[in-house]
């Protein structure tokens, strides 16, 4: 089967941002998740937290570089009125203590029970953990955003992860270039497909069992 054309990275980020509700505090992981900050839904007050000790920042800054004002990915950012700084223990207290409504992380693999692997690449024999393990267990809701398959077309959504884990049973929702899938106590449930993609195509590119309801909506972007 030909792999269908999926969403661009920007559209994936846009779809993730729709999950944010008014008043929520959100942590965006390094890489693709960071893009989500450019697509925050208008009219909803969403507060961004960064694990290096910032609450309430805005977008990426294109002004003069301030070494002391960066997000967890090292990118320069802007501050919004009412922002605050704290030390890393307090910041991870927010995360581990369940005060972050949603964390968005990139993924390498996830399992049908919501295990996540996103920090170590066996083929390269390396990787670094950063704050991912804390975000995985600490956020009230964890959204993973990743390509549905590897560049070689291998499934990333598996019965069990083959890569070293970031966290067990931590993923609540995965947004890929092809689909939106809920992790439920009964396993993975397909919620939406990307425009032009069929449920059958998604299921075929998913190694884990995937429950496909009678009617699956198309993503609205």
């Amino acid at each position: 089967m030909q792999r269908p054309q999926g969403l661009t990275r920007e559209l994936m980020a846009m779809r993730v941002a729709q999950e944010f509700e008014d008043g929520m505090t959100v942590n965006l992981g390094i890489g693709l998740p960071t893009l989500v900050s450019s697509f925050l839904p208008e009219g909803r007050r969403v507060t961004l937290q960064s694990e290096n000790g910032i609450l309430g920042f805005g977008g990426i800054s294109d002004g003069d570089f301030d070494q002391d004002l960066i997000n967890a990915g090292g990118q320069p950012i802007t501050l919004l009125p009412g922002a605050s700084f704290c030390d890393s223990a307090t910041s991870f207290g927010m995360i581990r203590g369940g005060h972050i409504d949603i964390a968005v992380l990139g993924g390498l693999q996830m399992s049908e029970t919501g295990d996540l692997a996103n920090w170590f690449v066996p083929a390269r024999g390396g990787g670094s953990v950063g704050g991912a393990m804390d975000l995985a267990v600490g956020a009230r809701k964890l959204i993973v955003v990743m390509e549905h398959t590897t560049r070689e077309g291998e499934a990333r959504i598996l019965r069990e992860c083959t890569y070293p884990l970031t966290g067990q049973g931590c993923v609540d929702l995965v947004v890929t270039d092809l689909a939106v899938i809920d992790v439920t106590p009964d396993g993975l449930v397909l919620r939406e497909v990307a425009p032009g993609v069929t449920s059958e195509q998604v299921a075929a590119l998913t190694d884990a069992p995937l429950r496909v309801p009678n009617s699956v909506a198309e993503m609205r972007l």
């Binding site: 290096n52 960066i70 390396g126 393990m133 995985a136 966290g167």
Partner: protein, 230 residues
């Protein structure tokens, strides 16, 4: 103790010997005590176990690795999953010449805070079921599994703050705070480089981030630019 003010970073390192464990504050480009690190490199100190959030290539710490000064690293970020410029540390690590203890960042911060606060260990869900749980005691609390993780202290800490008074009270600028106030509590000898040193009373008592009790030595030195290749 009342902190002592030194004229130069080199002088602030007096008495530092080989074989120390060394906490180094900072996060990517923010709040790194680069003046102290450059002075330590210059000093030729060897056998260092560095405890720091990240080791990136093209940094003074990586040059210290290249020069054989570093025996081991405790960090949250040291080996990249993606290809790209390899650090000297990574080359040495793969050759078995330096050790690496990888710690999740929240656990890393909490271990240092615990070390400074006389807490010998704590229970966290972070890392359960992952390779980083290996060798750690698991405990059940209310049906949830936790890892027992140990507090962390060091012989010396290098930190960077924005403003200090002559007693050693410190204020950090923006996101330069990060691990600096934690490390200030957790080392036998705490050395701070700062942008400016003012008289006691010039910092509002409510606005002190690191109380003077934690700081042993200070030196005024402007922040050096830190390279970071993303």
């Amino acid at each position: 103790m009342v902190a002592r003010v030194y004229d130069t970073p080199a002088e602030a390192l007096e008495g530092i010997e080989d074989g120390i464990s060394l906490m180094i504050g900072g996060f990517v480009t923010a709040g790194l005590p680069t003046n102290l690190l450059e002075a330590l490199f210059e000093r030729g100190t060897r056998g260092i176990t560095a405890i720091t959030n990240a080791l990136n290539s093209d940094t003074v710490l990586d040059r210290m690795c290249e020069a054989g000064r570093v025996d081991g690293l405790v960090a949250t970020f040291a080996i990249r999953a993606s290809s790209g410029k390899k650090s000297h540390f990574e080359t040495l690590y793969r050759a078995g010449k330096v050790t690496l203890e990888m710690v999740p960042q929240g656990t890393f911060a909490e271990r240092i805070r615990a070390g400074g606060a006389g807490i010998a260990g704590f229970l966290t869900r972070t890392g359960v079921g992952t390779p980083l749980a290996e060798g750690k005691l698991e405990m059940e609390v209310d049906g949830e599994t936790y890892l027992l993780v140990r507090g962390l202290t060091a012989d010396v800490a290098f930190i960077r703050a924005h403003r200090a008074d002559t007693l050693g009270n410190l204020v950090y600028r923006r996101a330069a705070r990060n691990f600096n106030p934690l490390m200030a509590t957790a080392a036998g000898l705490v050395i701070a480089e700062v942008d400016e040193i003012v008289e006691p009373g010039a910092i509002e008592p409510e606005q002190v981030h690191t109380p003077a009790i934690f700081v042993d030595r200070m030196v005024q030195a402007p922040a050096l630019p830190v390279s970071w290749d993303g």
